[in-house]
């Protein structure tokens, strides 16, 4: 796999976008560059033969993170009365930092260049793929071989959501999550919001269903579904849910709960989180389905933010 001119160009463009995102003066432009950067990184992943990662990077790394950053910028600009302090102005510190960063980069690059012969686990995965219940090796790793990571990760998302909810003001508790719809009825976004959901729903479900055989899976599918929900609410077609809503909470926890239950049930088959090969196929699909629901709900709620008090004005 010799690098092509395309790869070289892509790397340079990635670095340029990253530079603009980290070094640029204007915060809003930095975020925009970051989103561009995310999409470029997703392309890099395609070049590295990692389609699942490319999907995740595009949907989560670039898309959702970008949305979160933009929303935070807008909210901070509204709330912080004055222009926040800008970048460090002491040149000596800046130069020292730059030098340190350079040294670290060289160190890491050196470590990378001197890596011993690769001893990947491709072989192990391929050998056991049949028993895993998934045809896509990445899905097999995510939901079977290293399912415990994935289970904990789905709970990490909930932990972040709980953390965000603790930031609500006391009087706002029980109210609707923060994001108000921001468009006038009949605007482009509103129209878009009407068309997108059915398509998005289809794409999302497809990604999950396909995930066991081809690239895709619960996280990518969940992100798409979350995006659909977010757009629907931004378009004013729906209201954000109340944090105390029973259905919402059930949707948030059902995926991890079922996954956990399955893990415990595994001890009857020999060990923690054992999926008997005969049933692994449909078990994985079922877990992915509920996980997708929970992930979609959690991601959307992460974007909506904590409940905010009703506008008084």
């Amino acid at each position: 796999m010799i690098a092509s001119i395309f790869d070289l160009t892509l790397c340079l463009v990635i670095l340029a976008a990253a530079g603009a995102a980290t070094l640029g003066r204007d915060a809003f432009m930095a975020v925009v560059f970051y989103i561009v950067y995310g999409i470029l990184i997703a392309m890099a992943w395609l070049r590295l033969g990692a389609i699942d990662v490319a999907l995740a990077e595009a949907a989560i790394g670039a898309g959702l993170t970008g949305v979160l950053l933009l929303a935070a910028l807008a909210r901070v600009a509204r709330k912080a009365g004055k222009e926040p302090a800008s970048a460090a102005s002491v040149p000596a510190t800046t130069i020292a930092t730059a030098l340190a960063a350079l040294v670290i980069t060289i160190g890491i690059a050196y470590a990378f260049l001197t890596l011993p012969e690769p001893q990947g686990l491709q072989g192990h995965v391929a050998e056991n793929l049949a028993a895993s219940g998934a045809e896509n090796p990445v899905t097999a790793v995510l939901l079977n071989f290293r399912g415990w990571d994935t289970l904990l990760e789905s709970i990490v998302l909930l932990a972040a959501l709980l953390g965000i909810w603790t930031l609500a003001q006391d009087e706002a508790w029980g109210g609707r999550a923060g994001l108000r719809h921001v468009t006038r009825p009949g605007s482009v976004l509103a129209q878009f919001g009407r068309i997108l959901p059915p398509i998005g729903l289809l794409v999302g479900v497809y990604l999950v269903w396909a995930g066991s055989k081809q690239p895709g899976g619960a996280f990518q599918g969940g992100t798409v579904l979350a995006a659909v929900w977010i757009v629907t609410i931004m378009a004013g077609l729906m209201q954000a849910p109340r944090v105390a809503d029973r259905a919402l909470r059930a949707a948030l926890v059902i995926g991890p709960v079922i996954f956990l239950a399955l893990a415990v049930a595994g001890i009857f088959a020999g060990a923690f989180l054992v999926l008997p090969p005969a049933h692994a196929g449909w078990l994985i699909l079922a877990v992915e389905a509920v996980l997708t629901l929970s992930i979609a709900a959690t991601l959307a709620m992460l974007v909506f933010g904590p409940p905010e008090p009703e506008e008084k004005r």
Binding site: L158, L167, V253, V257, A269
Partner: protein
């Protein structure tokens, strides 16, 4: 189904199930916590018996052995941390039941506290049992996010700033750790600790990885100079949360450091690195103690004390790591540090719970307000005093056993510097803990407002923890033998 699989499943999943249930049912937090405590404690007891009778337990999750799957390993060290965590969490949640009670309508902090607290427990157990560096990363992230959320739960400007500062350190720490893990996988094709032990050499990649992992974990353990986030974060949270944050959370990253340096990469440890870690620990000890002396709020004193006490956990590296590992004193130094970690967990949690009860009684934690508090809260002050004895390392507490073991090792190793630092640490601890204690025992001012009553049952929880820390010293023979089970190198020495 084997008993060990059942025990491990209970320990790993009960707190997580509890957290999810508490998230679903907003006002049932205390009841769910009680059920969680019972289930986890049951699992812990079974596990302890199994480890004690049959030795270390190994379980391949999903039946997939390394390098493909994630391995769970419950040796004496893991068992000790899990049991201590269960004890400490039980006491903390018992005290928290009142301030975070469900009530008629759901309240924000009462709702979020319970799932966060139980997730914290689940994350700790996941970390203590894991034998895979990437799985440890996910567990550590869960722990960190929960801990940050708990710091910010009061929602005040200062506590949010403290949570943010903590978050920034934690983010950097996570990235460093992740970088190290990525390099190790790239070089060796596994992140299983046992397999890494056979494969890690001293290639540049391994050295950069070890440096990154150590730096990242040190930031999360608040080792000097990464300590700045800790005192405001630990003192700003509500007392039960502070107790978890100070008593348990830093122990998790320290635990991973132990697993890394003593099991995954024992041969990589050069004396320079070990001395540096120990030296930073000594610096943290002096610095944290001196700052603790200058605080005027009880919770800040306790929080700075944590910086100091965590510092001398790091003496384990020069005394038991690298070339010392093969020496006869290594077992003592290693065990001493573990005893310190465990007894500090109990004593520090007890202290923060005491501080919380004092705040409930007088409404704040400024030192002068504590004058004469012993009359209103005798059990609490007694618990605080017992916990102080452990932190000072006075006999017959667990802290003393720890200090004795580490000092003996340090003289045997011909490095008496660490022993002198330990003595100094004890004296400084006595100095900064003396002020609140002496005030508590003084006669109250005539015009001081009467403290609010706090029920005896709730005062019992910190007392039980402080007594447990003392008992760890009096009954140290069994715990000492227990934590040696499965310790790398224990068999070679023929010491046990």
């Amino acid at each position: 189904m084997t008993a060990s699989a059942l025990a491990l499943a209970l320990i790993l999943t009960a707190p997580l199930f509890g957290a999810l249930a508490a998230m679903l049912m907003g006002r049932r937090g205390p009841a769910i916590a009680l059920a969680t405590i019972i289930a986890t404690a049951a699992g812990t007891l079974i596990l302890l018996v199994i480890i004690a009778t049959e030795g270390a337990v190994h379980l391949a999750i999903g039946g997939w052995e390394a390098p493909l799957g994630i391995q769970l390993r419950a040796d004496g060290l893991a068992g000790g941390f899990i049991a201590t965590t269960a004890l400490v969490m039980g006491a903390i949640l018992a005290v928290a039941a009142k301030p975070f009670a469900g009530g008629k309508t759901e309240r924000r902090s009462a709702y979020t506290f319970w799932p966060l607290a139980l997730l914290l427990w689940g994350a700790l157990n996941a970390i203590f049992l894991s034998g895979d560096l990437f799985n440890l990363y996910v567990g550590l992230e869960l722990l960190t996010l929960v801990a940050v959320a708990l710091v910010g739960i009061e929602g005040k400007r200062e506590t949010l700033a403290a949570a943010l500062r903590y978050m920034m350190f934690a983010l950097m720490g996570s990235l460093l750790y992740l970088l190290g893990a990525a390099l190790l996988y790239a070089a060796h094709g596994t992140l299983d600790i046992a397999l890494l032990a056979e494969r890690v050499g001293s290639a540049p990649g391994d050295i950069v990885a070890a440096a990154a992992i150590t730096g990242g974990l040190a930031a999360k353990t608040a080792l000097f100079p990464f300590h700045a986030w800790l005192p405001p974060a630990h003192s700003g949270a509500p007392a039960p949360a502070s107790a978890m944050l100070s008593g348990l959370v830093p122990k998790a990253s320290f635990y991973i450091l132990l697993r890394f340096w003593f099991e995954a990469a024992p041969d990589l440890a050069g004396s320079g690195v070990l001395m540096l870690l120990g030296g930073l620990g000594a610096f943290a000890m002096v610095y944290g103690s001196l700052l603790a002396l200058h605080q005027d709020r009880l919770k800040l004193i306790i929080a700075y004390s944590t910086v100091a006490q965590l510092g001398y956990l790091f003496f384990i590296f020069p005394l038991a790591g690298g070339e010392s590992a093969a020496q006869p004193w290594a077992a003592g130094a290693w065990s001493g540090a573990i005893f310190h970690a465990l007894s500090h967990a109990m004593a520090k949690a007890s202290m923060f719970l005491c501080a919380g009860l004092i705040i409930e009684a007088i409404g704040h934690d400024r030192l002068p307000g504590m004058k004469g508090i012993v009359r209103a809260l005798p059990m609490t002050v007694f618990a605080f005093a017992l916990a102080a004895i452990t932190l000072m390392g006075l006999p017959p507490s667990g802290g003393f056993t720890a200090k004795y073991l580490m000092m003996t090792a340090s003289f045997a190793a011909g490095q008496p510097f660490w022993a002198l630092m330990l003595i100094l640490a004890g004296l400084l601890a006595a100095a900064y803990l003396y002020r609140p204690l002496a005030l508590a025992f003084a006669l109250p001012d005539e015009d001081a407002p009467a403290p609010k009553a706090v029920s005896r049952a709730r005062q019992f929880a910190p007392l039980a923890l402080a007594l447990a820390a003392i008992l760890l010293g009096i009954l140290s023979a069994a715990p000492f033998a227990f934590i040696q089970i499965g310790r790398p190198g224990a068999a070679v020495e023929g010491l046990e």
